[in-house]
Chain length 441, copies 2
């Protein structure tokens, strides 16, 4: 039976999952492939550490170079994480004509372009289903199923940690500190949760998705990114009152060429990660806990959604193994490069954040004094921002800040920011105005 | 540039969609494939009929044989529907070493085994993404993404017509006749809606899905099938009262070997299509109108869901084109048979309907007389059926039938049927007891 040799770099939770799936389903996989997948080396940091899965000690090494130098390894599986060392490993593999499977969204978001360029030049494949939403076959769907379609928008709940926290806040009315602590206790959030709660993780994933879906060359810094730490329990109450759920969304939306651009200019792409009000009855609103989902809008298919577990040893491990199987098929059939890598040149440009258009929920903290609402309404009107709904709560103590909430129609981000700056400069405004964008998914 | 020739049989709504997508995205597809897809013949029934899309008249033919006899056609796209003629066409193509794309679930449900056997023998491919839930990439996901996973259950809303009707009944409280007439008026239901409302269409799709997901060799007659025509507005009210939504579900569930089977015996599979109460907060409950969705439970991934449009020229056409592109890739790379066809021998057997296990909603029509509830409760208990909830409405007119509803715990179908037969034989039971199964998806 023909064999394809693989080397696995990184033997943490996902690496263990990959090994155990390969082992458990070896018979099945061989029957389907007509060939055998053989793990030839496993690189890890600490040879002495206890493992949950037994591996022949002769396979273990602490030298990543051992994977590169072994001519029997045709596929390098990069599970070490981080950017610099992973980049070196992946490029070393590609340069030697080895195919790569990686679960590393940070790497692809930061240096995907260089990696894909090298892979193209060497005629080898890079597969990365596990890099975004582990158990959701979104990469495969974008690369293959939608090959003959044109995507107009992508909305995703792509970070399980924040969705777990927001679900707890929505369902238990908890403040964010308590929901975060609970997520940490249960292992859904890391000790340092910054990358998740800042929206940074979701922005990395959006870069990877937007490249496939739109041919965008995005860096995380290009994504308008807001995290969840400023959200308050009252935001969830207001969301319910207006018929919304509150989620951290990753959004990419094709919006035609820039205003006044030359004919034939590229489409622009809005790319943003932020808390968003979405209709309470929408499918994304029903995505609870640590689950992930991505909604695509495309010309032929209309709306479609993929939903599943975003993380965990087995979902992520299973995505890695499905990539290994796919690559093995290509190798056995002598057809690498079967599915094209993302386009070498960007097909869309990033719309500047100031030009993004959204509807907004605005939460003001103002003095309960005559004329305050009139002032705010006219400051919004002066910036061409039109009001869809207003709610003001009655207040018992005269002179105390009064909760005032306004929902706007779609407005330009720069206009909205300017209006808020005007409003916040006024002495009757007692605290900075807070905003949450509204998305109709 | 290398070319792959295709012949399209059937030029209805989907055929037109396929041609227009191929034409509109020709440049894109060529760039991705490094090859060109050329439509060499289009077979249709009536040369004179007006078409919504222009085709070179020299390509048109009324003879299906023209597609088979053309050596320049490497892929035959079967869109004529029905079983007999389509079977002949598909087998003719496979025998001549041509690959096949089909959107024909009826054909695959009835004669898929023979077709796959022939394809295996000839070393050619059969692709059929469009046969089940047009715009949802469920076939691709089952064939490829889950190659290293083991599926334990599949729950689907796979018929848009009935979901449209049930959504209207749930949201407007309409009787089924009115909801069906409205669906017909809007083009969601055919003039003869029997195949849809009987559950027959969903059963065909379940056969196709269960073969891929479980290696089951199912015929539609093996599927426990109940349609929607017996549903009443009060069923939707009761569903809401108990915290459920009411949907037509296709269910396949792996359930271990038969009781008392020899060690190592095959797992059994429950296969059924019927109206079902599902938790109101579940994702499937949020699938409205003519949309489709399939929820998979698998060992590695846990729960996952795919959602999208199930029918229509563009969604179905797009699925057909993604199959054509995939096949073209295989042909250009010289790697047909890249993804294995369903297993030749069944890996599971069908669990007899009598052995199916479910919880049930039972709707009794009984005299408002002393002792009636006690009688029914004891008749259920005698068959080992345990009661989870009871609701009896007060009645004004003594002697009139009184609505009595019981929700049971999980019970064996044969026991439940026997208990209902007992109950319905009693003179205080005024009309046959109605049942709806309860699924926790």
């Amino acid at each position: 039976m023909r064999e394809v040799g693989i080397g696995i770099a990184g033997f943490g939770v996902v690496g263990g999952g990959v090994l155990s799936i390969l082992r458990q389903h070896a018979g099945d996989i061989e029957a389907r492939l007509g060939g055998r997948i053989v793990v030839r080396r496993v690189a890890l940091r600490d040879l002495e550490k206890e493992r949950s899965i037994d591996v022949d000690p002769a396979l273990l090494t602490t030298r990543l170079e051992d994977l590169l130098e072994d001519p029997g390894i045709q596929v390098v599986v990069e599970l070490i994480g981080g950017v610099d060392q992973a980049f070196e490993l992946v490029c070393g593999a590609l340069q030697r004509g080895k195919h790569v499977v990686t679960a590393n969204k940070a790497l692809l978001a930061a240096r995907g372009d260089e990696i894909f360029r090298l892979a193209r030049a060497r005629g080898v494949d890079v597969y990365y289903e596990a890099a975004v939403c582990g158990g959701v076959p979104i990469i495969r769907t974008l690369r293959e199923a939608l090959a003959s379609d044109r995507i107009t928008a992508l909305h995703g709940i792509v970070n399980g940690t924040t969705n777990f926290i927001l679900t707890a806040m929505a369902e238990k009315g908890e403040p964010i500190e308590r929901a975060l602590a609970e997520a940490q206790r249960l292992g859904y959030a890391e000790a340092d949760p910054t990358l998740d709660v800042s929206g940074g993780d979701a922005a990395q994933k959006l870069c990877v998705l937007a490249q496939l879906a739109f041919g965008a060359a995005l860096l995380p810094a290009d994504v308008l990114t807001e995290g969840i730490m400023a959200l308050k329990p009252e935001d969830f109450r207001w969301a319910r009152e207006f018929g919304y759920a509150l989620k951290l969304l990753a959004v990419a939306r094709r919006c035609g060429p820039a205003e006044g651009a030359a004919p034939g200019a590229q489409d622009q792409l809005e790319a943003r990660v932020h808390p968003a009000f979405i209709p309470a009855g929408s499918l994304l609103a029903g995505v609870r806990g640590a689950m992930n989902a991505v909604v695509l809008h495309s010309e032929a298919l209309g709306a479609s959604m993929l939903y599943g577990q975003g993380a965990g040893a087995m979902p992520t491990g299973s995505a890695v193994v499905s990539d290994i199987i796919d690559l093995t098929r290509n190798i056995l059939a002598g057809s690498p490069g079967r599915v094209p890598l993302p386009p070498a040149e960007p097909l869309v440009s990033v719309r500047p954040h100031a030009e993004v258009r959204c509807a907004y929920y605005l939460n003001f903290s103002v003095q309960d004094a005559p004329g305050v609402l009139a002032r705010i309404a006219s400051q919004l009107a002066a910036r061409h921002i039109s009001i869809a709904a207003v709610q003001q709560r009655e207040q018992n103590d005269q002179g105390q800040p009064v909760p005032l909430v306004i929902v706007t129609h779609v407005a330009r981000e720069a206009d909205l920011r300017a209006a808020i700056a005007d409003i916040d400069r006024d002495p009757t405004t007692l605290a900075p105005t807070r905003l949450i964008r509204i998305e109709s998914v």
